[in-house]
Symmetry: C2
Subunit: 343 residues, 2 copies
């Protein structure tokens, strides 16, 4: 029987129909009469409840289906009796694809991020990482849809480059030279390297993006970017995906319109398409998350000049506001705490 | 006045209305009474014709607007008298943003790919590269739409990696070690490298993709991938963008359905959304292009086993077909010429 994804099964109203779901067990509990298996297949943060009566399966076998196990359940879709779920599956047949030992690291609840970090290959199966990756997917889709609908062309700029993009950051070197041989020979022969010269990982696609914009009119990049600074701040990543639009014939006012419209489009996409995942993160990680996102969509963005921004910061300092980096007045670069204060 | 993109102006029927177009001059010719400027802004392969009467502009200045120049033209949108174009702009005002010397390398017609290769920063402004990049954009959009509509999550796998993905190919090394210092010191101290070990550019996101699929159910990667083989065949690229779907709970027959449906969706997207660009490439590069693409969408893909494929190849050899790589019979790897023959 064709498998139904959990995300589709949960909104089905074909009560009495036989369906097949497949996934990984999130929890398994036994009552006197029946067993309840919460099954997740990654298509949604929500689980579907599979109800198993004793006659369906050998008791020992049924007991072996613990958190993390991978199974198929075929049975009747029925309206759920329990709270918080619309439907459940009254199992007629359970097939075990793989069991999971009791030391499976992603047990049901409440692991810390630090703990999960040790199991990078497993943490994707948790609610938190599942939510983050489904939202990340949706944000990428929103980015592509927005730019496509606005006449921008997606432009793949080089990852390996011999340009340093205006010194935007420290770079990783890319080479096919054998380092052991370099150490032995005592010389670096770049003429023997893959590209015949020193090359690095890109810190920005901007330079090529500008060439694209002055040919195709409007382009955007959305690809991996690299920084080799030995920095461990929460804002630093060695490897991250960056979006860089480049447009010909655009005035500053239009650019600000584009930026505001783009951000609102993406946030609105998340609110519309990632409701369950956002609600989970709102409950578990940040109680103000959805409220903040909704305000981004609703409010008009304030536009002010650099000069006005400096003035506001200077007035804040006068009124007693402390900043880690001093407000030095007109001509200074703004640090992120200054930008956050202005926002 | 707000700029109108050429792609929109060309389908407008607001005859008599004033519009502003901006772009780069593809050609400029003078007749006795008026001048004709073919203007392109990258939004489409088609140019819009700007008709300039002597009273609009100083004759010397007008003459200076040669191929490659960047201008704004404001004027009346009128139905075109000429063949092959729907509308033209009767200029009332021309503003020159930038002139272009007569040694501008992308003159109007017929440069070879080898010639254009020398001007990688300029060739994006040609019809051929414009068409290729607009189609490439549309293919990326089709890929994302297809997988999104089919419940796959876009999954960014690591670019810098310490894994060699089953030895899929030669790898570029990524390092922050100072190679001159390595040569001087005579040792490679990986413990001082950025990640404390030897790292390379990924040859495949498959390993991480499989982890994603067994958590989110269905994922796809679409990102840059690298091969360091010192190979100069037309099929080899040091850096390219690769698509890798990974799905849990999928049978072989469903996988083949997915592959066929995906390819047809993308090709159909190109035929629907890239008509002008495909027609240009069909006329200039490959007269069978559109016919081939249409047949991909129309025909059902033949499905056969490896054993059947080998049999067909062996029969072809018997019938006198020559292959560069010998057909060694069951157990052999197929080379691309064998695959092409089967298709």
């Amino acid at each position: 029987m064709k498998r139904v994804k959990v995300v589709d099964a949960l909104v089905s109203t074909d009560y009495g129909k036989n369906i097949t779901v497949m996934g990984w067990v999130r929890s398994h509990r036994s009552s006197k009469a029946v067993d309840f298996i919460a099954l997740n297949d990654g298509s949604t943060i929500k689980n579907i409840q599979v109800v198993v009566s004793p006659e369906v399966m050998d008791a020992e076998q049924l007991k072996s289906i613990t958190t993390g196990a991978c199974i198929r359940a075929t049975g009747t879709l029925v309206e759920s009796q329990g709270a918080g779920q619309s439907v459940e599956v009254q199992a007629q047949e359970i097939e075990i694809y793989g069991l999971c030992p009791s030391d499976y690291p992603m047990q049901k609840k409440g692991q810390s991020f630090e703990y999960m970090r040790q199991y990078a290959h497993m943490r994707l199966r948790t609610n938190t990482f599942g939510a983050v990756f489904r939202i990340r997917h949706n944000m990428a889709i929103a980015v592509h849809r927005y730019f496509h609908e606005h006449g921008f062309y997606y432009f793949h700029t080089p990852i390996i480059t011999a340009s340093d993009a205006e010194g935007a950051g420290e770079m990783f070197q890319v080479t096919t030279l054998d380092l052991d041989r370099v150490a032995k020979s005592g010389t670096v022969e770049y003429e023997k390297d893959f590209f015949g010269k020193k090359t690095s990982l890109t810190v920005s696609g901007q330079l090529e993006g500008e060439l694209g914009a002055t040919a195709l009119g409007a382009v955007y990049t959305f690809g991996p970017t690299f920084r080799a600074e030995n920095s461990n701040t929460p804002r630093h990543l060695a490897e991250f995906w960056m979006i860089e639009p480049e447009v010909a014939f655009m005035e500053q006012e239009e650019l600000m319109d584009l930026e505001e419209d783009f951000i609102k489009y993406c946030v609105n996409w998340a609110l519309t398409n990632c409701k369950d995942d956002l609600e989970f993160l709102n409950n578990m990680i940040d109680k103000s998350l959805i409220e903040t996102l909704e305000s981004v969509v609703k409010e008009s963005f304030v536009r002010l000049t650099y000069t006005e921004g400096i003035k506001i910061l200077e007035e804040a300092v006068k009124a007693g506001r402390k900043f880690e980096f001093p407000v030095k007045g007109w001509g200074m670069d703004l640090s992120s705490e200054h930008e956050r204060y202005l926002v």
